[in-house]
Symmetry: C2
Subunit: 359 residues, 2 copies
């Protein structure tokens, strides 16, 4: 019955929309069923072939068309998680037109589907106090421009109170945006849940935009140290010592994390790198023939972790980098887990990190 | 030269990306040129036909393919503004894969292109103090769920200070989301700019999610009055009287604005409706055979405006509604301007409203 009411209500709006925008009819996609199977739908009278690609699938699966032009497929139950997916219509890859939740990214357009667990997952919206995520502008002297960043403040945060909070600076992957850690990684909800359970300390999480174009990537290291950290410390009641600062990031952002953290150990006492992409000039320059004072760095760094999945296409180079840091006698803690170069893994890396920071 | 460095830098990441995601090559689209012409690009080796649709065009225009599979078209100079657009590849409509800026909407996926003016436009990012936009969750007792809303707080906002701020509750159009007013309407930047110029009072702008599914739309009126307003007033230093509350909205949200505002004149002293869609049961129930005490309402309402464009497909019904309210002796102020049922118009309606509120 509810679905009927829903369809009737959107048909009213659809007739408005159709006049205004010549939009396709409203259809519901994706529909996640109680047994964790999922139905995907796409409307096209003219398409010859529609397939679904998703990170819950080993290979694309075809949709079939009914007489009204609605293509659909129901995939068998999948493990509860948040997954990116897209359709390919004839030769065109696109996000699901019926789904609001878009993977925040500069280059590809994919949708995300949230399959809830029978028990709440660490990234799910639960009945706990919620922090907030603020979109702010800061001036980057390094880059000569005004950029946007996101700031998570925990439940009960008082900007004028006496509490000084620690800060995690959290960097997205290459071609992601400053929104990917909240929109796909649900960093804010993971923090809400772990703080509510007493497993993570209340902290700020700062999510900057890590891509620097057309300038080279080392400029982001400068932007972080000279612009972003000072902006946060001028505007929020935070701990202005290395013991109150952590840096973490995924993929290209994982490489940036190593560059930023390990070349500034007096600034960041926590360095957590997720499936780092390190085939960059900056990494080569920083760490080829690098001879750190390991004793001193191991005292400065309260935590230095590298996480990667065994099916990650960067698994081998990440292992080599872990070995390289071990050769240099750095106390690097490695988390080798199942899974690939995905945001499903990335959420788990963050959930692990948050429980280790600032303790 | 900068473009070359840019292309080289993204080629590095592209090779990573291609391995990870089988993404298409990185191309730049849209490119807005100094003379306000715009080049759009799309990559496909297999497509037979690619066209561009945009609200700056009277009709779709074709792209042409080069030997490397990059389709492109350059459109002549357009009037500086922010415009939605999309590609149609063979029969498939899609957002520009190369453009991060997506029109926040539940049903269609379009991109937006920002054509800057020779002088800064009212919605542009200018060198002025910036407020911030916070994403928050509130519990809706009316709807029995937790929903997200966005709160703009102005520059210098102090949550613990003595200043009590007025609040504008600002509702998106049908099938838009709580993000459309910032992502497409740039409500935060319009407010920043008008506040910096002394043309608007510092205020909060609350942008809720106005769609209610599967329940009927009147539930949003209850959600606004019984859940959203109390949530804001419990969490922010605001004026808790009608003179400190305004409601405004566009299209379906413009209809909701009339329903919410005119049935609660002791709650909202400012009611500003933009191109309202009013063919709803709620509107019919509220305003058919409605006999307001006009003298009393005209005292309660410090401002009651209805805006519409002469090319808006709702122009005729909006004019009829204006006449209906005038017949009932309400002091409705109408803004009839050029333009259609677009967010280009919508931004102008908001910029006008902000200069009239709370004065």
């Amino acid at each position: 019955m509810n679905r009927l009411v829903y369809l009737l209500s959107i048909l009213t709006v659809a007739s408005l929309s159709a006049r205004a925008q010549q939009r396709p009819p409203a259809i519901s996609s994706p529909d996640v069923h109680p047994d964790h199977s999922i139905t995907f739908r796409y409307f096209s009278r003219n398409a010859k072939k529609v397939t679904l690609s998703g990170e819950f699938l080993k290979a694309p699966v075809p949709l079939t068309k009914d007489t009204s032009g609605i293509w659909s497929v129901t995939v068998p139950p999948v493990k509860p998680d948040i997954y990116p997916y897209s359709f390919t219509v004839d030769s065109v890859q696109l996000a699901d037109p019926s789904n609001t939740y878009i993977f925040a990214n500069e280059r590809f357009k994919r949708s995300i589907v949230d399959v809830p667990g029978d028990q709440p997952l660490v990234h799910s919206l639960q009945n706990v106090p919620h922090g907030k995520v603020s979109y702010r502008y800061y001036k980057s002297g390094t880059l000569g421009t005004t950029r946007q960043l996101l700031v998570y403040t925990p439940p009960g945060f008082n900007p004028n109170g006496k509490t000084r909070y620690p800060v995690l600076y959290l960097i997205h992957g290459g071609s992601d945006t400053e929104e990917t850690w909240t929109k796909v990684g649900r960093a804010n909800l993971i923090a809400d849940n772990l703080i509510a359970q007493g497993k993570a300390k209340p902290m700020l999480i700062v999510m900057p935009y890590g891509n620097v174009r057309p300038a080279p990537m080392p400029d982001f290291t400068k932007d972080m140290v000279n612009d972003i950290v000072p902006f946060i410390e001028a505007n929020y009641p935070v701990i202005k010592e290395s013991k109150g600062r952590a840096v973490a990031g995924f993929s290209v952002g994982g490489g940036q994390t190593l560059n930023i953290g390990l070349t500034n150990p007096s600034t960041f006492a926590y360095v957590c790198s997720y499936a780092p992409y390190t085939a960059t000039e900056e990494f080569k320059k920083n760490f080829t023939d690098w001879s750190p004072n390991a004793d001193q760095m191991n005292k400065q760094l309260k935590l230095f972790t590298i996480s990667v999945g065994t099916e990650d296409f960067l698994y081998e180079p990440v292992k080599q980098n872990i070995a390289m840091f071990q050769d240099k006698k750095l106390a690097v803690k490695s988390y080798i887990v199942p899974g690939g170069h995905t945001w499903m893994n990335c959420k788990q890396y963050l959930a692990t990190t948050l429980q280790e920071l600032f303790k």
